[in-house]
């Protein structure tokens, strides 16, 4: 059959296909008619055939481009993944997330080590040799944060409390969750970026904490009663985000039995779910940090809630979802 005759024979189908595709794309799935759907499937298959015929006979790039474009649009329309939900499912947060995290135990341990190691070391350093911290951190910033918790400054008047704390809420979300997401995504650089974020944050938190210990007195008390509750969520979430970064890096560094590209894609989805879970934790942490941690209740009550929160968070991560089947992403 020659080219023109073929085109003349087929062009009605092509036009019909285009119209139908356009119509189906702009109506909801529930309103499609059965006859339209089956016609669509038939036309799509016949146009696939047209395309391969035109390709094999080399009947011109224009015709091929046109059919190629028809097939591409039909393919995009017919083969799609199930629509994801915007909100994370509750079961993911309660059981799926801790389960997923425990699957990547080594990444979690590495992340804990890189964050808690510098943190503890610097706490010790700053507590025992306060004058040596000058080499590691800007003294002015450190002095500022110490003053923030000093007895004279720490008192807050009730009137401005809410608005001031709301400002801090925005700041905490932006800053802390931003750090966590960066720790995750920089894992794509073979984990080096994640390690940098973890270590540098461990150092700065450790130095602050150690200086508070060195100053002592009411300031120390103010500081630790402030940080203990949200710390349970915040510090663990940073570590978890770091673990997500290392899971990402795992695809590059140790692909295991998969090809490297497959490994990247597998670890990418797993890591992202972990990082989003960490983001949710940090949102909760920012809420606690902004509105509960600085409130005027006695420090003893804060230590108590803090201890309970730590216990709850750690047991959630360690035990929740055990015994169930692990869900694949």
């Amino acid at each position: 059959m020659n080219r023109e005759r073929y085109i003349r024979l087929r062009r009605d189908d092509w036009a019909q296909y285009e119209k139908l595709l356009h119509r189906l794309q702009y109506t909801r799935e529930g309103q499609w008619l059965a006859k339209d759907v089956s016609l669509m499937a038939r036309l799509y298959r016949s146009i696939c055939f047209d395309l391969s015929l035109v390709q094999s006979r080399e009947w011109g790039s224009q015709l091929e481009d046109y059919l190629n474009q028809l097939v591409a649009r039909g393919h995009n329309f017919l083969y799609r993944s199930p629509r994801g939900s915007v909100l994370p499912s509750l079961s993911f947060l309660t059981t799926g997330f801790p389960r997923l995290l425990r699957q990547h135990f080594y990444a979690l341990m590495l992340s804990t080590l890189l964050f808690a190691g510098p943190l503890l070391a610097c706490t010790f350093l700053a507590a025992v040799f306060p004058e040596q911290t000058a080499y590691l951190v800007d003294q002015e910033v450190l002095q500022q944060s110490i003053e923030m918790f000093s007895p004279s400054e720490y008192r807050r008047d009730g009137q401005n409390f809410f608005s001031e704390r709301s400002y801090m809420f925005g700041f905490y979300v932006n800053n802390n969750t931003g750090i966590a997401f960066r720790a995750f995504s920089l894992g794509a650089l073979a984990g080096l970026g994640t390690a940098y974020v973890l270590v540098s944050n461990g150092i700065s938190i450790g130095l602050t904490q150690g200086s508070m210990l060195a100053v002592g007195g009411q300031t120390r008390n103010n500081f630790f009663s402030f940080v203990i509750t949200h710390g349970a969520l915040e510090l663990t979430a940073i570590v978890i985000a770091g673990a997500a970064g290392f899971v990402l890096a795992q695809g590059i560094v140790v692909p295991g039995n998969r090809s490297r590209l497959d490994a990247l894609q597998y670890s990418g989805r797993q890591a992202l779910r972990i990082a989003l879970g960490a983001g949710a934790m940090l949102l909760a942490a920012a809420f606690v940090e902004a509105y509960f941690s600085p409130s005027q209740i006695p420090p003893a009550a804060k230590y108590l809630t803090g201890a309970v929160t730590w216990a709850l968070v750690l047991s959630w991560l360690a035990f929740s979802g055990r015994g169930g089947s692990s869900d694949e992403s």
Partner: protein
């Protein structure tokens, strides 16, 4: 005699048999029906300008939300419309928009943010199917890593090294950015209108051209290919010669009344001959007029529309 001539034509058909792995920005995807089709991959320039547009859109969204927030606070005469609250809210909304705008837009509107839609780009998975929400969010998160060390140079380096021009975020989440626009004018009608059809009397041997040869000619005049006239003539010469021999075409000599015109046209003689062949044997202009329902132009008109945003 005739067989050897047709053999010559066969040789001139480009890449017969060899897989069509050209050095260009097209990526082939195989459908479950066993047909290959192609996507054109978007380059860094287009993607950068889509990104810039999106940055602007992000700022506008945050500004709009803030304005609404302040207006509502005043409308209801809430006591807490302090600058602290507003700036706290600003930081919060900037955080949400900055990290999630791209992912949500691509995940929910079939792979297009506002900037991508403006530039007719689309994110799809590497198998050609629409991107899912999780992958869309992930590839946008990894933009932070692609940005390093400065101004996306890391991402650019990775793009150069991958066949589908994927940055790290694309590699990890199995996506690619394709270009959907077609700037091509349809077949050079203005080119064809300048030449007249071949006459049967001009060709001694036969008055027909193999379809494959025609498609080669069509490709030579593909408006998507920028070729200078001189270069096109150079390419056209061997094919034109072979085809003239095959058809037994003989050009009329100079018109004794106006010989100047003949020699003027002599320069692009092969180009002109191939154009005349195309006009005679390829789809005629009248055909193109009355096939508007199914012609490529119509397809392009639809194609530039977004695909799934009616939902």
């Amino acid at each position: 005699m005739a067989t050897t001539q047709s053999h010559q034509l066969q040789v001139l058909t480009p890449m017969s048999g060899s897989p069509r792995q050209l050095i260009d920005t097209k990526v082939t995807v195989e459908t479950p029906e066993g047909v290959d089709f192609q996507f054109r991959i978007a380059g860094p320039g287009l993607r950068a300008s889509a990104w810039l547009t999106d940055q602007l859109v992000k700022v506008l969204i945050v500004a709009g939300v803030l304005l609404l927030f302040v207006l509502l606070a005043y409308a209801f005469e809430l006591e807490f419309s302090f600058p602290e609250i507003t700036s706290g809210f600003a930081m919060f909304s900037w955080f949400v928009v900055d990290w999630f705008y791209g992912g949500l837009a691509e995940g929910l509107f079939d792979g297009q943010t506002f900037g991508k839609r403006k530039l007719q780009l689309r994110v799809v998975r590497t198998n050609g199917t629409p991107v899912d929400l999780l992958s869309a969010i992930g590839r946008n998160f990894l933009r932070t890593a692609d940005f390093l060390p400065i101004a996306f140079s890391g991402g650019l380096l990775v793009m150069i090294c991958t066949r589908r021009m994927q940055r790290l975020g694309d590699l990890f989440f199995d996506t690619m950015v394709i270009e959907e626009r077609r700037l091509t004018v349809s077949r050079p009608a203005q080119l064809l209108s300048k030449v007249e059809r071949l006459q049967r009397s001009e060709c001694r041997h036969r008055f027909q051209v193999p379809d494959r040869t025609l498609s080669v000619i069509e490709r030579l005049f593909d408006p998507a290919r920028a070729i200078s006239d001189a270069r096109r003539e150079e390419i056209a010469a061997p094919l034109g010669n072979a085809l003239e021999q095959y058809m037994g075409f003989e050009e009329a000599g100079p018109d004794p009344d106006n010989p100047y015109q003949y020699f003027q046209k002599r320069g692009l003689r092969h180009t002109r001959f191939l154009l005349r062949t195309m006009k005679t044997f390829s789809l005629t202009d009248e055909d193109q007029q009355d096939t508007t329902a199914a012609s490529p132009q119509e397809g392009r008109k639809h194609q530039s529309r977004p695909v799934g945003d009616s939902e």
